[in-house]
Amino acid sequence: MQFTRSTRRLRASPLAETYPFPVQFYEHPPTDNISLQDFENFAVERLKLLKSVETIGVSYIKASESYNKKLESELRKLKFPYRVSSGEKLDDYEMRRKDHISHFILRLAYCQSEELRRWFIQQELDVFRFRFNELQDKQQEFLQHNKLEYQTIGEEEKELQKKNLADSGGYGSIKISEWLFYKVYFTDVLELVRARKVFLKDGFVYIPHPEIAVIVLNEFRQRLSKSLALASRALPVVQSDERLQPLLNNLSHAYVGQDYSIQKNVGKISLEQIDGLAAKSYAPCMRQLHKALRDNHHLRHGGRMQYGLFLKGIGLTLDQALQFWKSEFIRGKVDPDKFDKLYSYNIRHSFGKEGKRVDYTPFSCMKIIMSNAPGQGDYHGCPFRHSDLELLKQKLQSYKIPPAGISQILDLVKGMHYQLACQKYFELSHNAEEVGFSLNHPNQYFIESQKLLNGSRDIKKESSQPENQQRNQGSQSTRGTSACVSKPTSQAESADMEGLEELLSDVYTE
């Protein structure tokens, strides 16, 4: 008697009912309770997934074999559902639940601006496409379950239009006789209309079953777009809750990985080295800021923040930083006293020596690209994102990048892949075949560059450490009572994390 298997299935049945497929339209928000740990972990893991999806999407042609293989392994690694398995286990349903919940958390974070929405929709669409294709012969069932019934055409009409159908899509007549054809209003399948790849009659596009995915994808995109728009309208209410706001901001600006607040190289760099380092190992954003500072003997606030924190990240001590900025500003006719009054306070503040005494972390690429766009007279931001294409081209030429490389970079920029463009710049300027890391932080750029130029001596990979520490801090505070920041100089404490912890503990001590 085989009890065990059936009992496991029985236990799984409530979840099995809610999640009959490994893919869904996310129509209804989750209503159950989850632990704080899960809340944070789910969101972070989905973010990791979506970022991988983005990278994979640029490195491989979408829907190609290698693309699918990479995406599958990523989904498996991060424990997200993607396939209907023959004997569905509890784990499968757990994954689907995580998928459901994490999607909705990220919605809140990514509905906030047009750019965030676009990014979110694009990655979710790619995941959905992969999963929908994996459904294979379960696709009809899935569509029925989701009440997506598309109008089909009858045999007589198919016979009548046979030649037209064959000529529009380049299908053979045998296939046409076999296939089910749907009639969909043309606004639902604009890409097919635009390319004139389908037969159009009276405003309706005739689509064979194998191409139904296009319509379904459009449906998914439209629904998600609408939902995000609604979410953003409701956001002020959500944001008025001070506990959720920092968490959401962090998610949307977070890059999942190192934050470079731990410097193993504190004091290892001397001020004289900086000009040389700027030319060799700075990412273009910092190189641009450094040059502007040297040229104008001044930088505005945005530039001082971005560059100043970067310098801290590469190992400058507070005293070195003060000396660095002061000497430069004095050359710009700023009174030494004025400097002490106006600027030094801010520098000390950013090192955590004043006011809240929070040790601010250097900006990640995501943060630089997404927030605080530069205006006239500013030199901060990301050149790949914020510079005019022509100016960027000139800049790259002045950095002695070969023309072929420049066009590769510009292509990536046009596709809005700013970090990949910077990665390409790294490859070209260091004469490296492949970068070997996924660029998401200017300090990471610096470290990797130094590694390459000096042979990786001292800088060991710290990627696992700070993350774990962050996680542990998080979980410790949930168990404990107050999570107020009691160790301002603790290296694991960052401005971002502080808010998160306070929030998380607040929510659950009620």
């Binding site: 064959a166 000529d167 606004t187 604009l190 004139r196 037969f199 159009l200 405003g203």
Partner: protein, 442 residues
């Protein structure tokens, strides 16, 4: 053909426009059109108009509460040009008082603009702003092809074609579906309808897929009925080495291998002898020699037809005749387009609706000009005054305005416009009935 009895002089505009706007412009039909039966509410009130005044002063974001306001303003301001824009979320005239970000374009007819200058590389008779009866055929072809596609492929029922006043035509698709299309959808429709692609740097602008899409096949059928007369005879595209080189330039470079693989025809299958060729260059030379030998355009065309594969011939025909539209005009919801019945300041011609059922009879050089209309009006009024007694003084002014355009050549175009509007009103009524039926109203 030429309006030599009624020559138009732009300097007369300041004197003629007031007469036109006071006595000839068909305000009530115009309002009926743009009001769309008052559904949805405020559709007319939220519509943007723009006027270009004397000395090129351009005023945007004009809007009017009703027909009377529009009339009064046009008569007061006497615009040289009138453009119609989108229907916005609020009254355009109040756009500054609306919360920023909130004022946006919501709806507009789907429009197309075919301009003769876009055909300069394939016209031999005229260039730039000039048109003649020879090249006007291109517009006839364009209207036929696009009108069929918009109607049969896209299911749009209410299409108004208007002469732009100088060198092209506009199409206003007024179906509700069309007016509510997103920018992406408009762009997709325009791309679907585009076949001739590429700027000055692209010599060969048409690349067809095999098999040919049914919509293109329909277009080719239309072009075929005109091609010999228009291209071979009137435009004389095979007239001289200079002109036929342009045609031959459209033959793909690797013609030899293409011909062999796609048709299985033996190469060098020229009608004047079974000569064989070993290379693309030889093949082209062979054609050239043949052309020179033959001495007449019709024969050259025949020769080409014997040699080339069908698909390459179609590509040539399409490049010379298929409608060239500006995707950007169609894409933007807030794009402003010249209004029907406005005057073209350079030619004096009125932007009149075109009767699509009688395309062959449309002659751009017989389109009334503002000066000819005013002269007609003058003549008629004098006649009337001589013949009839004035009845009660008040009614006469109103009666005069209502009947004035009917005394002139504007009658025909206004009738076409009315038919268009009536058809739309019928359809609107039908839709309302459907809705109330569904709602179970008795």
């Amino acid at each position: 053909m030429a309006s030599s009895d009624n020559p138009y002089d732009a300097a007369e505009l300041p004197d003629l426009l007031p007469i036109y706007y006071r006595r000839l412009f068909p305000y009530s039909q115009y309002y009926r059109w743009l009001n769309y039966g008052g559904v949805p509410e405020k559709y007319f009130q939220n519509r943007e108009f723009s006027f270009t005044l004397k000395d090129d002063i351009y005023v945007r974001y004009l809007s009017f509460n009703n027909q009377n306001e529009l009339e009064k303003e046009m008569q007061k301001v006497v615009p040289y040009k009138i453009d119609i824009g989108a229907v916005y979320s609020n009254k355009p005239s109040q756009h500054n008082s609306v919360k920023s970000g909130s004022f946006h374009a919501e709806s507009k007819e789907l429009v197309f603009d075919i301009d003769m200058t876009d055909y300069d590389d394939v016209r031999t008779c005229c260039s730039s702003a000039d048109i003649c009866c020879k090249c006007w055929t291109l517009m006839t072809i364009a209207i036929k092809i696009l009108d069929r596609a918009l109607g049969e492929d896209f299911g749009f029922r209410h299409r108004l074609w208007v002469y732009s006043g100088r060198r092209g035509v506009h199409c206003w698709v007024c179906d509700k579906n069309a007016r509510n299309l997103s920018q992406a959808a408009r762009s997709a429709v325009a791309e679907y309808l585009s076949v001739v692609k590429g700027g000055t740097d692209a010599i060969k602008k048409v690349h067809l897929t095999n098999p040919i899409h049914p919509s293109i096949r329909q277009a080719i059928t239309v072009i075929d009925s005109y091609f010999e007369d228009y291209a071979v005879n009137e435009q004389d595209i095979f007239e001289s080495k200079e002109t036929w080189q342009k045609v031959l330039a459209l033959v793909p470079d690797d013609i030899l291998s293409l011909e062999l693989t796609t048709s299985g025809k033996s190469v060098g299958n020229l009608c004047n002898g079974g000569i064989f060729f070993n290379s693309d260059a030889q093949f082209r030379e062979g054609l050239q020699t043949d052309f020179v030998k033959v001495r007449n355009s019709a024969e050259r065309w025949k020769s080409l037809q014997c040699t080339l594969n069908t698909i390459h011939l179609e590509e040539i025909k399409l490049q010379y005749c298929y409608p060239r539209l500006d995707v950007n005009v169609s894409k933007g919801i807030n794009h402003l387009l010249k209004s029907p019945f406005s005057v073209h300041p350079k030619t004096g011609r009125i932007s009149v609706p075109i009767d699509v059922k009688n395309l062959e009879t449309f002659d751009p050089f017989s389109v009334p000009t503002i000066s000819s209309l005013c002269r007609e009006l003058d003549r008629k009024t004098k006649e009337e005054q001589e013949n009839t007694h004035t009845e009660n003084g008040e009614g006469l002014e109103v009666k005069r305005r209502i009947r004035d355009y009917k005394k002139t050549s504007l009658l025909g175009p206004v009738k076409i416009f009315e038919q268009f509007i009536e058809k739309m009103e019928q359809s609107q009524k039908g839709q309302l009935l459907e809705q109330s039926d569904r709602g179970g109203d008795f």
